[in-house]
Symmetry: C2
């Protein structure tokens, strides 16, 4: 059973559902297969039940109904919560108990959401695989680093889960697990109270079962918090308002030729050829190899340098406690100079200007969310994040739409990338695209 948040809120508002019954169903679903999937670090069964009852009594007494009233949510375990420990996927921080919640927890609670538990993250949100399995086929990886959040939504444990992305940690696991996801423009969702791996690159993201739910949760989490230096004191796009509007004219898409796309696996390649065929003259091809050639390396420079800033003090105090992938990155980062980073930030700025211009001509980039279906667990990899690297570097808004299926019957995500801080227009375009492609496919089937 795949809950949708907006259906839950409607049901509770109309009186056909209660928050406590929805929560019980979630726990039933979790109980049924969590032993195999292992999406959760910990659950707050009692706290969540108490809160569900309180929300039901608010509704009964005629008090305000929030936009996520009674919606159970899973939270990546790098986000501070007061009722549950926050351990960053690291044995160093087992049972770490923050005394105040992350800003996004406050925002979720003000919207009436119920934090059900903490979802598995890879260690410090880096690349080493976690224990979590892909619910669609338990032989496969759910991706990383927001492994548990993607899995928990795909398994029907919760309708909504929160993750974060420094490279491809939201869009890639969403692609692998076949769920919807958004990583909004950088600075839209505050990171106060979230473990920092890179102040330039870390961005929050959301997993759900439909675009409507992403819109609601995105708007709930959109906030200006001056404690987060990436936040600007300006109005946020409203996705819930824009998703119901049809685009004023048919949107125009662009397929960028990019170096790393040479490594697309065949099923992904075929899927996108089909999509481009259906879109016909609504999509153009632009060669961006030259404009983007240094960007993956640029991302790596910034990421590893800032990872060193954030993790080296912890590593020094707790020698031998981090995994080899992190230690390798920290080792490499020692040779990155602050000049290298300044240069990298300049290259990033140029790339942001390139995309600012590109989006004068196009509404969205269509591109794969991952190079392939998810890897087998035995490959001991969370998959290649490269399909997300450039957009994360530039802070552009991205959606994963689970539209395609690969040779092994596992999902392949279509990624839509939009103009900075125009996340509202991007969801309108995403909604249009989803309908257009679905209609085209059913027309093909019936003809």
């Amino acid at each position: 059973m795949f809950f949708k948040a907006h259906e839950i809120v409607k049901g509770i508002s109309e009186g056909s559902l209660t928050a406590i019954s929805v929560l019980q169903k979630c726990f039933e679903n979790i109980n049924s297969d969590e032993n195999e999937i292992q999406a959760w670090v910990c659950l707050d069964r009692d706290g969540a039940s108490d809160r569900a009852k309180m929300l039901d009594s608010m509704r009964k007494s005629g008090k305000a109904i929030g936009p996520l009233h009674g919606v159970p949510v899973g939270i990546k375990d790098i986000v501070d919560t007061v009722n549950l420990p926050t351990s960053f996927g690291s044995s160093i921080f087992t049972d770490r108990k923050p005394t105040s919640p992350a800003r996004i927890i406050e925002l979720l609670e003000m919207a009436g959401a119920i934090v059900v538990g903490k979802t598995v993250t890879t260690e410090f949100a880096f690349m080493n695989p976690s224990k979590t399995k892909n619910p669609i086929n338990k032989e496969y990886s759910p991706g990383g680093s927001s492994s548990g959040s993607a899995s928990a939504v795909a398994a029907g444990h919760v309708p909504i889960a929160i993750g974060s992305q420094t490279n491809g940690s939201v869009i890639r696991p969403a692609s692998f697990c076949g769920v919807y996801a958004i990583k909004p423009s950088s600075g839209i969702i505050p990171r106060t109270g979230v473990f920092e791996t890179s102040k330039t690159l870390d961005q929050m993201g959301i997993f759900a079962n439909c675009l409507e739910d992403l819109a609601i949760v995105n708007d709930v989490l959109s906030d200006y918090d001056s404690r987060d230096a990436s936040c600007r004191p300006v109005p946020r796009p409203s996705l819930t308002e824009m998703i119901t509007d049809p685009p004023p004219i048919e949107p125009k898409f662009v397929w960028l030729s990019l170096e790393y796309l040479d490594n697309l696996d065949n099923a992904v390649k075929d899927g996108f050829l089909q999509i481009r065929e259906i879109l016909g003259d609504k999509i153009e091809i632009v060669d961006a190899k030259e404009a983007t050639k240094r960007l993956v390396a640029t991302h790596k420079t910034i990421h590893e340098y800032q990872l060193l800033e954030n993790l080296e003090p912890i590593n020094k105090e707790n020698p031998g406690k981090m995994n080899k992938l992190i230690l390798g990155a920290l080792e490499r980062a020692q040779s990155i100079s602050s000049n290298d980073v300044s240069l990298a930030l300049e290259i990033r700025k140029e790339a942001q200007n390139f995309f600012e211009s590109l989006f004068l001509d196009y509404d969205a980039i269509i591109t794969p969310s991952a190079l392939s279906e998810p890897p087998l667990l035995k490959e001991k990899s969370t998959g290649n994040p490269v399909c997300c690297t450039i957009w994360t570097l530039c802070g552009l808004p991205c959606f994963n739409i689970p539209l395609l299926t690969g040779e092994n019957g596992l999902p392949i995500g279509v990624q839509l990338v939009g103009k900075f801080e125009e996340d509202d227009r991007l969801i309108r375009t995403a909604k249009w695209l989803q309908k257009y492609l679905t209609d085209a496919v059913s027309a093909q089937k019936t003809s």
Copy 2:
């Protein structure tokens, strides 16, 4: 010229106004009479202009338009701002420069508002008159402690100003200056970064030129911030949604007989007799003298005890710098025991239960916002706050609606008080009442 915030946003959104032109008009209005009115402690002309231009360029480039996009706002000088000093109306803190903004400043900026300057507060938001005059007649007091905020809106300097109320510091000056105001239920608007005089009683409030504007600003400022212990992690009422709904059935009002209303001046008494006559069987009279008899004293116990907690350390470090009214309160507070306060908090809880029951039968209490028209400046008083004391004590939502006029041609406010955390229903009732009374009066005139 009396700006309305929602008209400004509409104009900017449609392109018939720009944020910079609105701001210039505000500064013209301020320049024209600020020397006499003295509503402002300081203004940020350059910063506000830069921000207006930035908001105009956002609008031009198609980025999001906030619910207060381009709306100039005045902020009571007990609210921390980064661009302007925050001095609490005290010579001790002249040029105090906070390094981070109050939460409500972040919320206003995220909505697209422009902080124009800091408005005059009485010293530490207590009772001693400030330098500010009443714009309607400069011989009279604007009330206190949010003197500058009420005056700035009444004078047409800004369409919106923010104040705070520990006893009657929003509703009373709104009544005296003839503007609309709301003091929402306690805990709806976070006080993080606002000077604390009483953790139990301090509540934020808003001044504007219509109910619609109060709804917009209230919803912008509604927030759960765990740093403020009065905030609960639950959904906030949405006033903008509810204000457009007609009440499902005609609202029912109650007039409470209260001891202090024996001191109403004649013009106020007459005005309310007229209102009660017009409302006919829609209003009932309930004798609440017994249920409320200890509440004014209870408020005083809590207020002065907590004032001592907050001001005595400052007083000790800065002897001889506070005015006599504050020093008198601090002196009295020395003899209040923590037991007295525990008892006071119990009495408060009982009173909250009394009102919780009362509002099962009625939609709103109708009551005066002040005992009389504003006092003359030469009386050296900000007026009696007693008409607000009980509601502030219990944290109930209150509106001031400027409907009546007294013998001296100065305004008398109608106060509506509603059920705790049902501020949304109260604004719907307020909207209904305003129309009903206005229609009745014009029918009388034409007949």
